[in-house]
Amino acid sequence: MKRIVFPIMAMVLYGVLLMAASSVAAPVVPDAESGKRGDLPRFLVPSAVSRENFPCSRCHNFRAADRTKRKLKEYHSNIELKHAEDQRWCYDCHEGDRLRLQNGRLIAFTESYVLCGQCHGTIYRDWKAGIHGKRSGEWDGDKLYRVCANCHDPHKPRFSSIEPKKPPMKPSDIKDR
């Protein structure tokens, strides 16, 4: 009896594994030669993960998700949502320890640009081409890209104004030496 059961079990298990593998989105494998992942850049400067809040599951495993819009008082009170806030609440982009796309797919925080690219398609395209956002490194070699959240606060993406550096000296300010 055992002789028949084992192969059957093995086949069932294999099938389950195959199904599981195909249901998960195929990971983007870097091209061996250029190091590029599809049309994605090779080197990304990841945005720093919040040490205070990450991983989310540390607390949220023990709390029920409250999807009503409200002013947060106990936790995350420092987050000011100013990013299409009329249409959005935490769980539209966050789920568990990951980010949630519109189609329900979950992605890691390191791929956050995919989430931003859902709405900001033209800017996403420009960013991949190296036109939007800052680049550093080598102009004909390894370029460092910053992901969106490196420069923009995802909850309040507009840049705040900064103090300019000193204006050049006017000829009238030049003193004799």
């Binding site: 420009d126 081409a129 190296g130 036109i131 939007h132 956002g133 800052k134 680049r135 550093s136 490194g137 080598e138 102009w139 004909d140 070699g141 420069c151 840049f159 104004s161 900064i162 103090e163 300019p164 550096k165 000193k166 204006p167 050049p168 000296m169 006017k170 030049i174 030496r177």
Partner: protein, 307 residues
């Protein structure tokens, strides 16, 4: 000055021509024979134009200049003389829809390229224009704007530096051929051949060239020791200088300093001959213009609007 038909020299000495020539020849002859400082001075006097030197001569000249610079600035300074890479023509893009006029590029440039701090020399000038007025009214632009915070409501900013023209008027007017366009498209200056006549400054329609009215005033600890002969090596009193797209960085494959410092990512740089480069992408896909295009200077500096 005339006395009995004979011209007197200002010191009041009686100096017949024969005596003068004998003395001068003796002096020059002994200078040629003398070791050390006199020899170096003699070599500096006979130094050829950079483009006429062989690789061996360039090495010798650089060894002497490095020694001079170390003595003058109290710091070891490395002078590189790397040549242009074939198949490269540098181009620059500046996104006017992003620039906030913070002037970080101005000061990053000063530090990277060893500009004089006192008297002050900046290679980049950021101009401020009122929105909704005449388009790019250069005469009424403001370069001394100094608000608490930028960007200001109702204004936009346009940084101007050397436009690295394909048809550079500054090169045409130089009487000593001390400035020229390199094969990778950057216009450079041989500071040892510049005589400081400032014709090039008068010819440049962009006001991009700067003159050293005094010996550059830089503290030794602020000097960037990684320099290029045609770029950021310490300059002399009485020579002209300007932006070189950071030749010491870009010929080593790196981005210029202003590109790396820009906090809003408005500055783009790349190879115009590479169809995959970001500069080619923006020329193809964005609204692009060049400053004073009607002058036929063909700048390789492209202002664009990403949005």
């Amino acid at each position: 000055m005339e006395e009995n038909g004979r011209r007197r020299n200002p010191l009041g000495l009686k100096l017949p021509r024969r005596t003068f020539i004998k003395g001068a020849l003796l002096g020059l002859g002994s200078a040629a024979l003398l070791p050390g400082q006199a020899k170096a001075a003699w070599e500096a006097f006979l130094q050829k134009n950079f483009r006429e030197m062989s690789d061996e001569e360039i090495r010798e000249v650089i060894a002497r200049l490095e020694k001079d610079a170390a003595g003058e600035w109290g710091k070891e300074i490395k002078i590189d003389a790397s040549k242009a890479k074939p198949g490269v023509k540098f181009g620059y893009g500046l996104d006017l829809s992003r620039c906030i006029g913070c002037r970080k590029c101005v000061y990053a440039c000063t530090e990277e390229n060893n500009q004089s701090r006192t008297p002050q020399i900046h290679w980049i000038t950021v101009l401020r224009f009122a929105k909704g007025e005449k388009w790019l009214d250069l005469e009424n632009s403001e370069k001394y704007y100094n608000p608490k915070e930028v960007p200001e409501e109702g204004f936009f900013y346009l940084p101007v530096q050397c436009q690295q023209c394909e048809n550079p008027p500054c090169v045409k007017v130089c009487p000593t051929k001390a400035t020229w366009k390199e094969p990778d498209g950057i216009v450079v200056i041989d500071y040892n051949w510049c005589i400081g006549c400032r014709y090039c400054m008068a010819a440049c329609p962009y006001g991009a060239r700067r003159f050293n009215w005094a010996r550059p005033g830089i503290k030794a600890e602020e000097i960037n020791p990684d320099t290029h002969y045609l770029g950021n090596r310490p300059r002399y009193k009485g020579v002209v200088e300007k932006c070189t797209f950071c030749v010491q960085r870009t010929r080593a494959g790196k981005y210029p300093a202003c590109v790396e410092v820009c906090p809003v990512g408005a500055r783009k740089f790349g190879n115009l001959l590479d169809p995959e480069s970001e500069i080619r992408y923006l020329i193809k896909n964005k609204r692009v213009f060049r400053l004073k295009e009607d002058l036929n200077t063909e700048p390789k500096f492209f202002y664009f609007f990403a949005t």
